[in-house]
Subunit: 547 residues, 2 copies
């Protein structure tokens, strides 16, 4: 991959046939060495180049030796590799070199679903199965395919502290979570999916790193004090030395494509990627991915989560856009959820009418420059030049369920009949649909927010932060405790339900809807038709017609 994309420096421990090449960025370090623990303890000096990268080479004497290491910096402290490929003992301990038997063999990409044909199934590895591993997912893929799903979206897998986390506290963007089965497990899952014709989307977090085990600042200015994110220090995308921080994350994106054959990335909360450059990091990322695809004759997609309702991110370059491929469309969810549940708290304050639901069907964005009473200002912009195949809609997702006071799914909030209507409303919307694991059979277990930090002060901070967040919605009531194992355990879905009673019926509704959707081109995003919508608020009538 080294020469595939111009000027992108591979970072981390990179194996070739007879050596491991170590590279780490440390522009201000006066010394950096590899402290090898296995196969034998030794210290390997490194040399710094002009761009601030420290390099060294270690000759392999025996194939597939276990190699573990930390970086010894300034001859006094040592830390895991910021680009570690594996953290066998968690976020604070040694990094391990990963040597795969082979690189992924790119299949015929023309057989993979196109973005506008995606039917996405979002899952959280830890709670999708009782085992909580990649491997345990594999037996369920055939069932999902049968349901009509053709792509799974895996919540973030970058190594996080402990064993329980949604994934947004990851601190090693290149290391696949050890408790999930590490890089081998992810590879196996991806390979299986591809054999079944299922695409794999990976959720990646480029807007912040978690609070525990985050040693990047020991190496270089990965963060900037120019901005603050809701979750901690802002990543340095536009301040001094940002070029190499961009390199790190762009290389990360290419790493998933190149080493794991991931089909698409879902970029978490890009509204927290602060960047005032003339050439935005996100645009650069899209350009580099395009360059990589052109050189390798592959196709990859970048899907963003954004609360800005700014279509510029998904517009093509010719329209002055940043040419990211698609985005999550939260407004569709909010319009649907607020109308059906009648909830008016928090951001639902802006929603609740059929007129808004109609707008969602017509253009995805409801907040398109109109006044938001939740934000107390005008919000968004008309997505005039966006295609329906660029907008991903859902009636539930990990955030919309999990960021509730009690993590209730719609199955708890609305009637069974309403669940069926919601399925049809989402799947026949003419956008790209996304299901959240369990919704297809009306899972009743909650999806709670949970963490497993090592530091009691941090656990307390999470508890309090969570409480604060919910005040807009629920006032001072008590919720569940995100820091205890019980909260995690009760979030594990009961997959076997999908064959039982009403759950099986709902499953068949989803399946029938997806079958019909597949038959009728007019219901698919590629047609790019906005439906005619008729509604009557008083009579509670809502109908839409694609023609």
């Amino acid at each position: 991959m080294n020469n595939l994309v111009e000027n992108i420096i591979p970072v981390g421990a990179i194996p070739s046939s007879d050596e491991i090449h170590f590279t780490v960025w440390g522009p201000f370090l006066h010394d950096c060495k590899v402290h090898l623990y296995e196969p034998q303890e030794t210290v390997i000096p490194m040399e710094k180049n002009k761009r601030g990268y420290w390099n060294s080479v270690f000759k392999i004497t025996e194939h597939h030796q276990k190699i573990t290491y930390k970086y010894l910096i300034n001859e006094k402290e040592e830390y895991p590799d910021p680009a570690s490929r594996y953290q066998p003992f968690g976020v604070h301990e040694r990094s391990e070199v990963i040597q795969f038997d082979n690189t992924q063999n790119p299949q015929d990409y023309s057989l993979r679903p196109k973005l506008e044909d995606y039917v996405i199934y979002e899952l959280h590895v830890g709670t999708f199965t009782p085992q909580g591993t990649f491997e345990a997912i594999i037996p369920r893929i055939a069932k999902l395919k049968d349901l009509g799903v053709n792509s799974i979206e895996i919540m973030p897998v970058a190594q996080f502290p402990g064993k329980r986390n949604w994934g947004y506290d990851g601190v090693y963007p290149f290391a696949v979570q050890n408790s999930y089965g590490g890089p081998w497990g992810l590879r196996k899952l991806v390979n299986h999916c591809h054999q079944m014709g299922i695409a794999v989307i990976l959720d990646v977090v480029y807007n912040h790193l978690g609070p525990e085990g985050n040693y990047l600042s020991k190496f270089g200015p990965y963060f900037t004090s120019k901005y603050k994110t809701p979750w901690g220090e802002a990543i340095n995308y536009d301040d001094a030395f940002c070029d190499e921080v961009r390199n790190y994350f762009i290389y990360n994106a290419l790493y998933w494509f190149n080493e794991f054959d991931i089909d698409a990335l879902r970029l978490d909360a890009i509204h927290a990627i602060y960047d005032e450059s003339a050439y935005l990091f996100l645009e650069e990322l899209a350009d580099k991915v395009k360059e990589y695809d052109l050189k390798t004759n592959q196709t990859h997609f970048l899907i963003v989560e954004s609360d800005r309702n700014d279509p510029r991110f998904i517009y093509p370059k010719a329209e002055g856009g940043y040419s990211l491929h698609a985005q999550w469309c939260d407004d569709f969810h909010h319009a649907l959820h607020a109308y059906i549940t009648g909830e008016k708290n928090g951001y639902y304050a802006d929603f609740g009418s059929l007129a808004q639901l109609a707008k969602a069907y017509q253009q995805g964005y409801v907040m398109d420059g109109c006044y938001s009473s939740y934000r107390k200002r005008k919000h968004g912009r008309k997505p005039q030049k966006a295609n329906r195949g660029q907008l991903i809609v859902f009636s539930q997702n990990h955030d919309q369920v999990g960021n509730r006071f009690r993590g209730e799914r719609l199955s708890i909030l609305v009637s069974f009949e309403e669940l069926k209507i919601i399925a049809a409303l989402t799947l026949f919307s003419g956008f790209i649909p996304l299901l959240f694991m369990g919704e297809e059979y009306g899972e009743k277990n909650p999806f709670c927010y949970f963490v497993d930090h090592g530091d009691p002060a941090l656990l307390q901070a999470v508890r309090e932060g969570r409480k604060r967040e919910f005040q807009a919605f629920y006032g001072d009531q008590d919720g569940y405790d995100p820091t205890i194992e019980e909260t995690f355990k009760k979030s594990i879905i009961q997959w076997e339900l999908h064959q039982k009673d009403k759950h099986a019926l709902l499953w068949s509704v989803y399946k029938e809807c997806l079958t019909l959707r597949k038959k009728l081109k007019i219901l698919q995003p590629l047609s790019n038709i906005s439906p005619k919508v008729y509604f009557n608020e008083k009579e509670k009538i809502f109908s839409f017609l694609f023609e």
Copy 2:
């Protein structure tokens, strides 16, 4: 003007034939009243509307009565009007209602110079004449016209504390500085300029307000803690309640056009206007100005100062731009200055070669995505779709002279022969040229930074801040003291020099260059031709050819 631009609320004290309408935004105030001091002391109640504006009407009993007032808020404190039209006794005292005899009579706009024909003369009212008033400028306009200038750019005139200030500490964006002669003086000057066929550009500051006499926060959330500017609190352009803050500044722009017949605004340092909206304040401003122009059949220009080297600001909407009309091109200055003076400190570190000067001639931006050693990152973007008539170039301006350690003009730094070359290099560049008052005859007096605050702690802070700012350039040397009158006085230009000795010779060089430029269409921005540039660093040869 009230109905000219949709949804823009006029703020301040607005006279009609028999009444004064008072409007002030105060969304969280539980009470607001007009405390009238003249013509008779009285308190007038106000009513708040849904958007948070307090309104009241005062009947005029006698034409052109002097009317002064403050707003009494929450029945305990009183402050001048945030949209005061005049502060006769400075920034802390009463506001005065302004009633002009007539509105400006729009002349035939087709006679005014077009933007791409502008030859701009930047001046500071306080130091352009010994009197330091608008009126004192008038007798010099004919001379400037004779020189070949067709537009003057006036440094900011919004009321600032004391009598000496560059204008960037203004705290009443609608009030013309009392010590300069107030609104009547500005009107008179503009009228005279228009009679002479000279356009008037006003420098306005929409990125911050000064530190003294800034009472806006007493009324509403004009500022946000989301961002910090180098000069204080960031103005709230994208946070809750920002719609009405935008209204205030958009109305300000229209106010200058409507009440003073100003031709163009120069928007100070837009890189400090932080805004993450899908619809940027600056784009909204440009749209509203366009709407105003269409309805009134007038033409106004928005010229930005930006250090982002992001051409999106000046690209048309069709290219995904924000459609501001033109921008200052600092890179042209830096390339020219660094090469001729040999200076390498501060941001000049990125410049100094003829290759860079050549790039500046070809496309304006030198930093077009290449690495900046000053910023320690890549900077800017190629301005491929910008026209030469959108870039304003200069060999000197108030910042480049005044933000030096000793405020030295080029006349102090380079030889007389070099001054002549610099004149030709700038005026024949094929961009829009801007001269800084005095450069046309080689003024020797410095242009220093000066302030006149009332608060000793603030004065000390300015002294120290100034020192810090210069450390990158000059280390710990001592400069002049910006807080004493002497510094201001020595900045006043010696206009009479333009007829003397070598000064007169330089003046004639400028005049001849501008005459030739006017004759040769190919040297004008409208032709939009990039010159062929030949240079040889070793032989110090630089030539450019328009053909």
